[in-house]
Amino acid sequence: MSTPVADPTLNRRMPRVKNLSQERRLFSRRALLALFLVLAGLVGLVVRLAYLQIVHHDLFVTLSESNRIKLRPLPPTRGQIFDRNGVLLADNLPSYRLEITPEDVTDMDAVLAEIGARVELSESDIARFQKLRKRSPAYDSIPLRLNLKDDEVARLAVDLHRFPGVSIQADLTRHYPLGAHAVHVLGYVGRIDEKDLQRIDEQQYRGSTHIGKNGVEKSYEDTLHGKVGFQQVETNAQGRALRVLEQTPPSPGENIYLTIDSRLQAIAEQALSDYNGALVAIDPRNGEILALASMPIYDPNPFVNGIDVASYKALITSHDRPLFNRALRGVYPPGSTIKPLMGLAGLEYGVTTRGKPVYCRGFYRLPGQSHRFRDWRRGGHGTVNLDRAITESCDVYFYDLALNIGIDRIHDYLAQFDLGTLTGVDLPGEKPGLVPSQAWKEATHRKPWYAGETLIAGIGQGYMLTTPLQLAHFTATLANRGQGFKPRILYATQEQESHELHTEAPRPLPPVPVKDSRNWEAVVTAMTHVVHSGNGTARKIGIGIGYTIAGKTGTAQVFSLGQDERYNARRLAKNLHDHALFVAFAPADDPRIAVAVIAEHGGGGSATAAPIARKMLDAYMAMKP
């Protein structure tokens, strides 16, 4: 190799000769500068790292922890529901589902075929499984079949070990062992939907799938549900849980004991089974609802995991409207069942006396008007006093009485018995009914009140509407001589761990005042005559009875008759028949039970409703007090 200095060509290209020592000095300066830049860059990095690791350390620790630790909810077990004697009405049954973890399965098709040979697998089961499988990580357990039958579980369990990745999972599903029994009291649970999400604390329902939709399940949701527990799980980036770090166990919901007596409830449902209608029985001494039936009833169990469309459509389109809770939400004219309260009001306001006679000639005419307000007995009752008017249910007596009291005073008096207002029962959806007043009519109809409307209010017709619960409630208050109690369905709660019972206390209402306590006895005595005297409207149920019933029949018109028409059941369509009503309590001198019965289109109260009430009273009287 030649030295470049000696190369003439190079010399030509290089007119300026390289100054080697100058180049070396120049390079050293630049290298030193580069070293400074390098150090500056490293310092910049350290500053950046300090910013992340010192200044924002806490933030990133939090982020790293939330990356790593997932909170997994542990849903609480729902409380059970019993009747007052401990008869199980709602519990939680293990339901078995078949799950497959895809990552543990080598040949999915073969496994599906093997399982299909042991349990029933529908096309849609497999389709849903395959769809979920595509969406889920391979370590996730995916349900293949829900609600396995016992024999299917048995058949699978025998050789489950042959199928790694296939497992049978048990979880708890709400179950109503008595089916339709007391369904309008219990209600049911269903899957949480959008509407539920707005009213619940979502934190408490993490991990829960069901919520009370109706009945006690809804009104005591908070008691029954319990408190959610949590598990802190360390997870990796794919979400697979690696280990449990910490856990707060859920606290199960409390058990609930209802005031319902399941035996009475069964009798009520049985006795009323031929009719659409309702029956409410209340203990007048404390407001406990002993039975609350609305007919027809339906099985709530299919609602728990989503009822199929066809069955649901059948339920909601049925003319009998089984889903409709008549006991709380059905509003009916009280008819003649209101007469004892009217009589009491007359005595209180001094409009009448216990002995004051009224002559009934079969109809009543307002002064200066031709319209005849008819009595149910065409020929009239003749001269009647309060006792006979109630016993025979004379309409004319009460037309006269109502006119003398006046509609506003009627409204105020009935309000003391919670008519026209909510009773405040601890069940959802109660209706207030209606007791009219002049102000009410002015406000809603923008029309003045007519005297004739006062007359028919006196016999519980016209605008007046009550629920079966309100009827039972006022009967109970009457039975207890004015000392009412708020009707309630909750008898006691019980913590699942300690089994300690917390009995609910009765909630007394302000007593209905009377000027003379003999007024109670006058009305109650008249009501016993309804059953126990020869001319009582319900004398038929008084035959062969070993205790005293105080009762009152009622008939609520569904259909207005013309001025000269006669009610003839045979000629009217069944759905235009009158509603039959009966209210009663027993024993008359020491009441322990008050009952209200409505049989829709049942005709007369004495013929259909009273015998149903008698069955209830008989059953209750036969029980130990």
Binding site: M1, T3, R48, F60
Partner: protein, 381 residues
């Protein structure tokens, strides 16, 4: 031993060291401090890799083999006198260009980029350019006056420019950046006048928006945008950066301790063994550990620059200086990217990241540095 050098530089003033260990190292043309620093970094890398790779010893074994191979490459190259390297330079460079063109024509595609050439063994020609470009720059200015004169600048820009464009077209932004910076470092160390440096910076500032609009692939543009605000796309493009910042930040001053980094161990950190291993290191050893690692890198770069400054001739100086600074670019770009300072360009953390391709080139570069280091002694003998 008398060796004729292209530009016999008097240099002088280098006393021969005489301790026994120095003798042993001298015999194989090794620089003691640099070798020690490189070896320390490599061992540290294996330690972190064991943790980052979920305590997979197989991973560590494979990486050990690669490290051993690249240290051998270093030792072999250290035996080649630097004037010999200078003779090979044009051929290596031209060969590299030819292969880069071949890659674009018949190369193999992997992960959306056409980077590989299969001639019996699969390799990336762009790796060769990381060394060939600084060599070619040094070769070009070896015979020309320094500071670089304006009329030589066109060639000086083309030498890194052509391979840079070819590599960017693959596309491989990280390597293109390294190759380009190699050219720039040679010019800078050669003493390019500040007027030209500042002028070029201004020019680049003007044409950068044009390049942004027409010269970048969508994914490259996305990377820059994501870098500016990674939180915008936390599950997509920004996921890497967010998770790596969480790893670094949660490490704090002292770190979570070796094998205790949750981000890497629970798979939250993507590429934890390769491009993002710096985040694992920061999570487990904290700011203190990271400062020590950066200090180690500073020692390597500093020692390399010292070797460059004390090299006997222009070619050696420029080559050694460029290699030192390229090594720093690796460190800076990787750490900057992982800590969210710079865009995500796929550059490994030298000597620590799992992978062999760039390791060989890096250690090859240090081999040349060693050779340059020992050539001043050959001179003095």
């Amino acid at each position: 031993m008398r060796i004729s050098l292209p530009h016999g530089d008097a240099g002088g003033g280098f006393g021969a060291e005489s301790s026994p260990s120095r003798d042993l190292l001298s015999r194989v043309h090794m620089d003691g401090p640099l070798s020690l620093a490189l070896l320390t970094a490599a061992v540290l890398g294996l330690v972190v890799l064991y943790s980052a790779g979920q305590e997979n010893i197989g991973l560590v074994e494979r990486q050990s083999v690669r490290l051993a191979l690249s240290f051998m490459v270093m030792i072999v190259l250290a035996q080649v006198p630097s004037h010999q390297l200078q003779v090979w330079t044009p051929w290596l460079y031209l060969g590299g260009i030819v292969m880069l063109v071949a890659v674009l024509l018949v190369g193999e595609t992997s992960k959306g980029a056409q980077r590989w050439l299969d001639v019996g063994v699969r390799f990336q020609p762009s790796e060769i350019m990381k060394l060939a470009v600084p060599m070619m720059m040094a070769w070009y200015f070896a015979n020309r006056p320094l500071p670089p004169q304006f009329r030589h600048l066109l060639v000086a820009v083309l030498i890194p420019g052509v391979p840079m464009l070819l590599i960017a077209k693959q596309p491989d932004l990280g390597t293109a950046l390294l190759v380009g910076s190699a050219g720039a470092f040679a010019l800078f160390l050669g003493g390019l006048s500040w007027t030209i440096i500042l002028g070029s910076v201004a020019t680049v500032g003007c044409i950068a928006p044009v390049v942004w609009e027409f010269g970048l692939h969508d994914y490259q543009r996305q990377r820059v945008l994501t870098f500016l605000d990674p939180e915008n796309d936390p599950l997509g493009a920004g996921y890497h950066i967010i998770q790596s910042k969480i790893a670094i930040g949660s490490g704090g001053l002292y770190g979570k301790g070796w094998l205790n980094g949750t981000q890497a161990h629970l798979d939250f950190l993507p590429e934890g063994t390769t491009d993002f291993i710096f985040a694992v290191f920061s999570e487990e050893f904290g700011l203190i550990g990271v400062c020590m690692l950066l200090a180690l890198y500073a020692v390597i770069v500093g020692r390399s620059l010292y070797i460059a400054a004390s090299a006997p001739d222009t070619f050696s100086r420029l080559l050694a200086g460029s290699i030192a600074l390229i090594f720093f670019v690796y460190v800076f770009v990787n750490a900057g990217m992982v800590s969210g300072l710079l865009p995500v360009v796929g550059l490994p953390l030298p000597l620590i990241s799992y992978g062999g391709t760039s390791l060989v080139t890096i250690m090859g570069g240090f081999g040349m540095l060693m050779s340059i280091y020992s050539s001043r002694r050959w001179l003095s003998q």
